[in-house]
């Protein structure tokens, strides 16, 4: 039986920063996708958006998160995860893992995400996210977009494919 969980592509942001990280022409030969992100923003914004096929609509999610002093839950009309903002301790990055099963199916796409920040200073966040892209199109591209505008140098993202047979 074939081994799976293979790297499709990986990006490391260079010295100029990046306004997005894009994985285009995602092959349809896998069953599930995993996206692992280590990221920091050059602005005070501590989130990034996940989009599929460059679409800006039909996203929803449930968050469960802790700040270090309290736990809460919210609902959003986007798929957003944490990264380290510019105000965070230097050299710290936020980490995220996103799982997308059945990404080529003609059903809506379910997303499972875990996202963390740690700062050894001000409030940081730990997040569990259940997401949905209410679109029946097969996912052919993955876009990571920093809410503040620019991924900092040394931010990384890797896209893996998992095959169930």
């Amino acid at each position: 039986m074939a081994t799976t969980y293979k790297k499709i592509a990986s990006v490391t942001v260079g010295s100029g920063g990046a306004s997005s990280i894009d994985f285009s022409s995602v092959p349809s030969t896998y069953t599930d996708l995993v996206i692992k992100v280590s990221a920091r923003d050059t602005t005070a914004n501590g989130e990034f958006y996940l989009r599929f096929n460059s679409s800006t609509t039909n996203y929803s999610d449930r968050w469960l998160y802790g700040t270090g002093t309290a736990a809460s839950s919210t609902t959003n009309t986007k798929l957003d995860f944490f990264l380290a903002s510019s105000g965070y301790t230097a050299n710290t990055f936020g980490n995220t893992e996103i799982y997308v099963p059945n990404y080529t199916s003609s059903n809506y796409k379910s997303v499972s995400g875990d996202s963390v920040q740690e700062n050894n200073a001000t409030a940081s966040y730990t997040l569990l996210e259940a997401g949905l892209w209410s679109d029946t199109a097969a996912i052919t591209s993955v876009n990571l977009i920093p809410a503040g505008g620019t991924f900092a140098q040394y931010s990384t993202a890797t896209l893996y494919g998992i095959k169930n047979s």
Partner: protein, 163 residues
């Protein structure tokens, strides 16, 4: 299992019709950990149950941390006859992932790390325990209250080998 290979698909099922139970049987002991991934919905009923080795005794327990979009909550279930890896209705499309570490050892009880992802209901992380020292050789995924998983739902079991 190929030498040195890990994260291998053991078995996958995509439902061609509404179905109450999906079983993974004769699970090889060649791996270290198991990962189960569900993606889909239920056509009737609203909850998923999981049993190991066809054990229907009160050997399952759970601690759940979850959010409903408004509040963060935590609950515990003890002495259950199965464990319930979702929270809220499976009438909504969602993914459920659970991992069973060291599943084939015959010495310790089996602990499960579980993520539930219902974007129209609850998002959560659960700890599950099966109080049995038996190696896990069978996993049954069952629609609770005779409910059925919907056509097109997928159930996949992966094996991870430490060496």
């Amino acid at each position: 299992m190929a030498a040195g290979a890990t994260y291998e698909p053991i078995s996958t099922t995509t439902l061609g019709s509404n179905t109450n139970t999906v079983s993974f049987t004769s699970i090889s002991s060649a791996y270290t950990d198991l990962i189960f991934v569900f993606e889909g919905t239920m056509s009737s009923g609203t909850d998923m149950m999981v049993q190991f080795n066809s054990d229907t005794a009160t050997n399952y327990s759970s601690t759940r941390l979850y959010g409903n979009g408004t509040s963060a909550l935590s609950t515990r279930q003890t002495s259950d006859t199965a464990f319930y890896p979702a929270i809220g209705s499976l009438a909504n499309r969602q993914s459920i992932i659970f991992q069973v570490m060291n599943y084939s050892n015959a010495t310790t009880y089996k602990t499960v790390l579980n993520r539930a992802n219902n974007p129209a209901g609850f998002v959560g992380a659960h700890a599950k325990l099966w109080r049995s020292t038996a190696a896990i050789t069978r996993i049954d995924i069952i629609g609770a209250s005779s409910g059925n998983f919907a056509t097109g739902s997928t159930f996949t079991l992966y094996g991870i080998a430490a060496a």
